[in-house]
């Protein structure tokens, strides 16, 4: 009988130990990132654009879930307002500052100032010359190279086309236009049959892009390709191509956030090939990156953390799917 009691006791002890281990193990494996009360401020180039709205939506979801505050300061495209808003944001001492750089040079001093004050700066989609804690966004050099190589394949030696290309940046000093043009011209330098006949900035406006393209098409009716640096203003160029009756003869390349309007434009033949960096996915990357940085994440050698956005090429054909684009 004593042996029965002893074996029962051993069983019960084992059971209790086992349950205790289970409970402790279950409780100890998951850390609780206490981000409540932390402050995140976002200074975009302008709110009210599909790109910035898509990013803000995702970050807000994470902010609401984790309990940190997310504040957007809107300069509405004005550069001087942006510098002032950034200065005010720095003085508000947030934990993370998300910055969207209009040019590579404009905000370098302020980013450096913020980092030195212990504010972690995350740059989104447009880099500055000044590195900071982290960057997530499109790899413009890769996009420029890939589009240029596609242009060479379609318009270069052996294609039977004229090799004439028109480039339409947003602004020549904007971060993406600088890098896209650098990458594209590097590719074109190795292929002298490609001639860039126009490199006129359209100020991100579809109407200006349309007027530039109408004029260029008049002078160069054998134009082979148009490379626009943003899908929205390139739609103006695409319309000009359609109005001139050259649809299908001129290939309209663009790059952008890939919202449903872009897919509609591709279906309508206004844009032909769009390198989409999926603004909605970028929003999720940005939100994740903010969560990581808020929990103390940074590169081990204090360089800039770099998360490149994956790319999708949207064009009509067997791979085309409406769901390649997101709806805001």
């Amino acid at each position: 009988m004593l042996s029965r009691v002893k074996s029962n006791l051993i069983n019960i002890a084992t059971g209790i130990t086992f349950c205790a281990a289970l409970a402790l193990g279950a409780g100890g494996a998951q850390a609780d990132p206490n981000l409540k009360g932390k402050k995140v401020i976002f200074v975009p180039i302008a709110a009210g654009l599909t790109l910035t709205e898509a990013w803000s939506r995702r970050v807000k979801q994470h902010a609401d879930y984790y309990g940190y505050s997310f504040d957007i300061r809107d300069p509405a495209f004005k550069m001087d307002a942006m510098s002032e808003l950034l200065a005010k944001a720095i003085s508000d001492k947030p934990d993370v500052l998300i910055v969207h750089n209009p040019t590579v040079q404009l905000l370098t001093r302020q980013i450096k100032e913020a980092e030195s004050k212990g504010i972690r700066v995350v740059q989104i989609n447009l880099q500055s010359n000044q590195p900071s804690t982290a960057y997530t966004g499109a790899n413009w050099t890769r996009i420029g190279t890939e589009i240029a190589e596609d242009i060479v394949k379609e318009c270069g030696a052996g294609s039977g086309k004229s090799g004439e290309v028109s480039i339409i940046p947003g602004q020549l000093t904007a971060a993406d236009s600088v890098m896209l043009n650098q990458a594209a011209f590097k590719v074109f330098a190795a292929h002298p049959e490609i001639k860039v006949v126009s490199n006129q900035a359209s100020d991100w406006e579809p109407e200006k892009a349309r007027q530039i393209t109408t004029t260029v098409l008049q002078q160069h009716p054998n134009l082979c390709a148009i490379f626009g640096h943003w899908d929205v203003h390139t739609m103006g160029a695409g319309k000009a191509v359609k109005d001139a009756g050259l649809e299908g003869k001129v290939i309209v390349y663009a790059t952008g956030g890939g919202d449903d309007k872009t897919c509609q434009a591709v279906e309508d033949g206004i844009l032909n090939r769009v390198w989409s960096y999926d603004a909605d996915g970028q929003g999720r990357d940005l939100a994740d990156l903010v969560d990581i940085v808020l929990q103390g994440g940074s590169a081990m050698d204090h360089s800039m953390l770099n998360i490149d956005s994956p790319l999708t090429v949207i064009k009509l054909g067997p791979d085309y799917d409406k769901h390649l684009c997101f709806k805001l």
Binding site: A46, L49, E53, L172, E205, P206, Q211, Q218, V232, D243
Partner: protein, 335 residues
């Protein structure tokens, strides 16, 4: 009586030296471009220049009339985009085409009326009133119609897009036709109607016009309403051709600058009272040809803006040199 009419007519001719200088410069630029750029002096290129400048000329007709009356409408581009946004909103909401057109006209006329009322009855100086109304109109319409967005992409089945993409007659596109019609209507208004005479009188000497009993206040209302209507037409032309309604054209300011440049370069002085449709045509021709040439030479936007500024300075300085102000031409409160 004959001598009075003769001197009045002479008065309308004086100060038009700038117009001749600008015409000469335009011809010089056209010759230069015809020689140095292949394909410039072709009918196709002329059509391109015309379609690219349609909105500019339409806006200049409205602005020209306002400036002749010694006013200034800085809200013209804001009204233009607001009108296009209203049109897009009503057509998206599913109203019938005549209803959409009528409602847009009413909205835009109301905006012009508001401007005119501020200037005629509340007696705020035109520059300040329209500067303020520009910001209010742009803000209100952007948030009411576009919910804070800057850009509205128009679907290809939008009635304005469909209408303005067509050719009214072979070789004559709808925007160019709209341009010609607005030009002719403004010419008729200025030359042959009482409103036109009152406009010139107001510009020449506002107090005298008021004292001799001309109905200057209703005339002011009508002038600003007409300007707003031309802005709506221009807005539809731009919205149809580019496929978007873009509120950044308001914030950008370059279109408004170009419109004022066209009017001033053409020879209509900002103090009003002189000038006519020929001045607007001449000014628009120079700016259109200049823009086309700069694009063909692949000049950057910054260089283009710089050149336009230099052209304006040279034009105004030349006019001042050949037409120095004397006690007769100098008016109080000159801009």
């Amino acid at each position: 009586m004959a001598s009075v009419t003769a001197s009045v007519r002479k008065g309308q001719r004086r100060g038009s030296l700038l117009e001749y200088i600008v015409m000469g410069v335009t011809v010089a630029i056209v010759l230069l471009l015809s020689v140095s750029v292949q394909g410039f002096a072709t009918l196709g290129n002329l059509r391109v220049i015309a379609s690219n400048s349609a909105a500019l000329l339409i806006l200049s007709c409205g602005m020209g009339m306002v400036i002749i009356s010694r006013g200034l409408d800085l809200s013209l581009v804001a009204v233009m985009v607001a009108g296009a946004a209203t049109f897009a909103a009503f057509s998206n909401a599913g109203y019938s085409e005549p209803a959409v057109v009528g409602l847009s006209l009413l909205t835009v006329a109301a905006l012009g009326l508001a401007n005119g009322w501020l200037i005629a009855y509340v007696e705020i100086p035109a520059m300040l009133a329209t500067l303020a109304s520009a910001m209010v109109i742009a803000g209100v319409f952007r948030f009411a119609v576009l919910r804070g967005e800057f850009l509205l992409l128009l679907p290809p089945d939008n009635p304005a897009v469909v209408f303005f993409s067509k050719d009214i007659a072979p070789g004559l596109s709808a925007p160019v036709a709209a341009m010609i019609i607005t030009f002719v209507v403004t010419w008729i208004l200025l030359r042959f109607t009482t409103l036109g005479r009152i406009t010139y009188a107001m510009g020449d000497n506002f107090q005298a016009a008021r004292l001799i009993g001309l109905r200057v206040r209703p005339a002011t209302l009508m002038i600003y309403m007409y300007a707003a209507l031309t802005a709506l037409v221009a807005g539809l032309v731009i919205a149809a051709s580019s496929g978007t309604v873009d509120f950044r054209t308001v914030a950008n300011g370059s279109l408004l600058y170009e419109v004022i440049l066209v009017v001033v370069l053409g020879g209509i002085p900002l103090r009003g009272g002189r000038g006519g449709m020929r001045n607007i045509l001449v000014g628009c021709a120079l700016i259109a040809v200049l823009r086309n040439g700069m694009t063909l030479f692949d000049l950057s936007t910054q260089t283009q803006d710089m050149l336009k500024g230099v052209v304006l300075i040279i034009a105004v300085a030349t006019d001042n040199y050949f037409n120095p102000r004397d006690t007769e031409t100098d008016t109080v409160g000159d801009l």
